[in-house]
């Protein structure tokens, strides 16, 4: 069993009057993939957006409670979100490469964080990131082409490479395969399996099969509450909760 990397305690989130998360207590282990499942609007995305404070962007969003990474409080007014997001990367539901070249897409993060001062250092970071995201072979001859010219699956791997480029400890993935076809999805899943050796990964997914394939731990959310969490195998084979059972067998959702 790996040690706990991220720990949430009594986490509550409100969007204006509406409460989106209710007292979520969830531990995420280091160098492991944790899948979050549940019907739409149950708060899975809201939860992972708390980990890198992406909810700050939304004016009406209010987060209370605690969330710690390596024992350091994330939800602290004085915490620098820039360095937090350097440690916690994110991949979104829809691939969102910058409308710039493939090279610039990857080199942007390291540049703003002052990593890779020389051209050769940057080149190396770009190459490594693309290799880690299994995209290097496909794009190495056309790094100057716009990132938006790639196919959907390639774009999503480019976004993963962009997240890796700043060398984070955690990667959050918000339904990374929902806009992709099965072949592209398979590639991303393979990649996730590979990446978990280095990074702590949290993935939100609507595909039960995907959760089974890629994750070691699964959490089931319903209406803003964490209903059940445990080893993926156990959750899908022998869940404790009736609701979990109903959801994974497709009786509601």
């Amino acid at each position: 069993m790996n040690k706990v990397k991220i720990k949430s305690k009594n986490l509550n989130v409100h969007y204006g009057q509406k409460q989106a998360l209710f007292d979520v207590n969830l531990d995420l282990n280091e160098k492991e993939v944790t899948a979050l499942i549940g019907p739409s609007g149950c708060g899975k995305s809201t939860f992972i957006r708390c980990i890198n404070r992406m909810n700050d962007v939304i004016d009406i969003c209010k987060v209370t409670g605690n969330i710690e990474i390596d024992g350091v409080e994330v939800n602290d007014e004085n915490l620098d979100v820039v360095s937090l997001r350097e440690r916690v990367g994110m991949v979104f539901q829809k691939p969102n490469p910058f409308p710039k070249s493939i090279y610039e897409n990857i080199s942007y993060g390291p540049k703003i964080h002052g990593k890779g001062d020389t051209k050769s250092e940057l080149d190396e970071i770009v190459e490594n990131s693309l290799k880690k995201s299994a995209l290097w072979e496909e794009v190495k001859d056309r790094l100057d082409e716009p990132g938006t010219s790639l196919s959907g699956g390639q774009q999503q791997r480019l976004c993963i490479a962009r997240a890796i480029s700043v060398n984070p400890e955690v990667i959050l993935m918000d339904e990374p395969c929902s806009a992709l076809d099965p072949i592209a999805t398979a590639k991303i899943e393979e990649l996730i399996d590979d990446l978990k050796k280095t990074y702590t990964i949290v993935i939100v997914t609507h595909s039960m099969a995907q959760a089974v394939r890629v994750s070691q731990k699964t959490g089931f959310f319903h209406l803003g509450k964490l209903i059940e969490v445990g080893k993926t195998e156990k959750i899908f084979k022998n869940p404790d909760n009736k609701m979990t059972q109903d959801y994974i067998t497709g009786r509601f959702g």
Binding site: N52, M54, V57, D59, V82, S83, L84, R85, E86, G89, M90, F92, K94, P95, N96, P97, F98, P99, Y108, G109, I112, H113, P146, T148, C159, R162, A163, S165, V166
Partner: protein, 420 residues
Amino acid sequence: MTKEERLKKRHSAEKRFRFYGLASIFVALLFVLILVQNIFSKGSSAFKKTVIKTEVFYNQELLELKNGASEKDIINADFYEVMIESLIKSFPAKNIDEENELIRLFSADAEYEIKKAFLNNNNLIGEKIILDLTASDDIDQLHKGNYPRDLPEDRRRISNFQLAIYDNFVENDKISKNFNNYYFTKGDSRDPELAGIGGAIVGSIYSILICLLLAFPVAVLASIYLEEFAPKNRITDFIEININNLAAVPSIVYGLLALQILLATIQLPRSTPLVAGITLALMTLPRIIIPCRASLKAVPPSIREGALAVGASKFQSVFHHVVPLAMPGTLSGTIIGLAQALGETAPLILIGMVAFVVDIPSSPIDPSSSLPVQVYLWSESAERGFVEKTSATIMILLTFLMIMNFLAVYLRQKFEKRWN
């Protein structure tokens, strides 16, 4: 109603709508065509000026200049006698009245043209050369066919004697039409044949440049702040409504504002491109802010999130990603705003740009005219020469506007990036 009848009705409704659309486009095109035809037929002759070939004899006795006289001496010398002598030789006048009528066939600048030819070539003392002297407005219009010669003499500006001279010139091939360089290089004048838009063009360029320098940075920064950084609350809503209202305020109101604040209170120099530029900048500001905010709004939030997620600060995500993507739309909005400012007349009249300015302004704080105001000024003049100049100036103004609008479209198409 049966199914067939309903179907038929639907089809005929669509056909009717297409017909209305085509008809309205046709009507619009027809009006554009009439406008262009009208302006072109009236104005195209202004690009040519009538000149009369005249043999000029630089008689040393009349000039009172020595060989190799300095430039200053030449400029101060009197060429009037030389001109009269040369003109009389070209067509004999019997008495002083006829002599005056003969001289009035030439522009008031004929003497200056003779002097200029002399300045360009200093060895002309005692020599004869043939010069193309600019004809007066009456002859110019007569030669262009704009002047009716079958009126009785007492209702004509041109006497029978002058007509006889004109016919003689035509017979001897002395009269011809040249490119009208005066129209493009000279300032305004009381004599139509000597009036030009040089001063107005320079004045317009100064005004628009000042307008651009003031309005563009303020408008872009204001848009970025309002769109990306300002909290969304009642105050910002109120500001937004007011900006939209300001864009709809009649331009003459900005003229009144400038008159009170810039001229009366701050005491900036009257009738200058500086004041015009500031006034136009006030007017253009909301017209740039609106398209700039729209372009910023059109940048998808996923781009901002992508930048924030790799650890860019708010400022970095806006200035590295959002603003560059919004630039093509902003630039084309700016150019269209400037094109509107270029064609603006009312506020400039209020700040005194309607003054009669002969000199071409050498700086933005010299009194000046501007293209639309020049059109307004000339359209009020009775002389036939100004009628063609009015239309020609409208053509020039429309050409500038068209170039700016094409530039706006080109910039947007060339630099607009797609995102999915």
